[in-house]
Point group: C2
Chain length 131, copies 2
Amino acid sequence: MPPEARRTQQKDAIREAFASEGRPLSPQEALESAQSRVPGLGIATVYRAIKRFLTDGTLVAVELPGATTRYELAGLGHHHHFCCRRCDRVYDVEGCPPRVAELTPDGFELEAHEIVLRGVCSGCSQTAATT
Amino acid sequence: MPPEARRTQQKDAIREAFASEGRPLSPQEALESAQSRVPGLGIATVYRAIKRFLTDGTLVAVELPGATTRYELAGLGHHHHFCCRRCDRVYDVEGCPPRVAELTPDGFELEAHEIVLRGVCSGCSQTAATT
DNA sequence: CATGTAATGATAACAACTTCTCATTATCCG
DNA sequence: CGGATAATGAGAAGTTGTTATCATTACATG
């Protein structure tokens, strides 16, 4: 049996990072966010916490093309993602277009689908000017 | 100015691999396919050829969530991809569902989108039986 | 509050993929 | 054909992201 988990301010800070940011975070992003609460936090602890949160169902992995894996709180239901090419942040997007399943070639069995939108987020869009 | 390119049987074999397979290939897949034409072919040569083909517009990169980058012949037009979880091969799929752009959150600027279908390809589906 | 032990932080070690190095080979052009 | 040099193959070396090691710290319980 696995060792009993202890509650620590580090894990609390990491969990809180995902909850407060409200978008999928990479381990590095989670580290930076959580460090505002626990300054000395190390990246190894973030990886350990994420692994534990995946196991206990707190987080789920979000894989994106050409980017490192992000993680977000579980239980959000079916949704997709938007990647900003300026800040590299990933955002959740609601909804799902109709007829996605119709793309499936004959003889293929569709089990899941993912949609990734790309562009510039509202924050970066305002800051804009330069390309 | 860059050195003048020479035509070699290795590059021909690699280009032919992409043309004959008709689907996005990883460097490793391209190597295996091209080795049927040039047995001694090395992986370094495949990487060098791909880099050159990207530069001269012969190939384009296809990035997928949680998978190594694939490459395919350029000029295929807008399309999406299907990943088989059994054989890990990637296939092109025609078409594009309507209203994808409507998912974009307010204030965000959409520039592109990608759809990845997942499941089992027709080849693996027949071989099936086991899960 | 004393104690057993899970958790942490820093860093080394991994793993997967890609690029570099260099001696050798092949291509191209006069 | 002969020479200049681009291309190749094999393996070393880099990258980037993740996991393991280990001495130290901090939970949590009696």
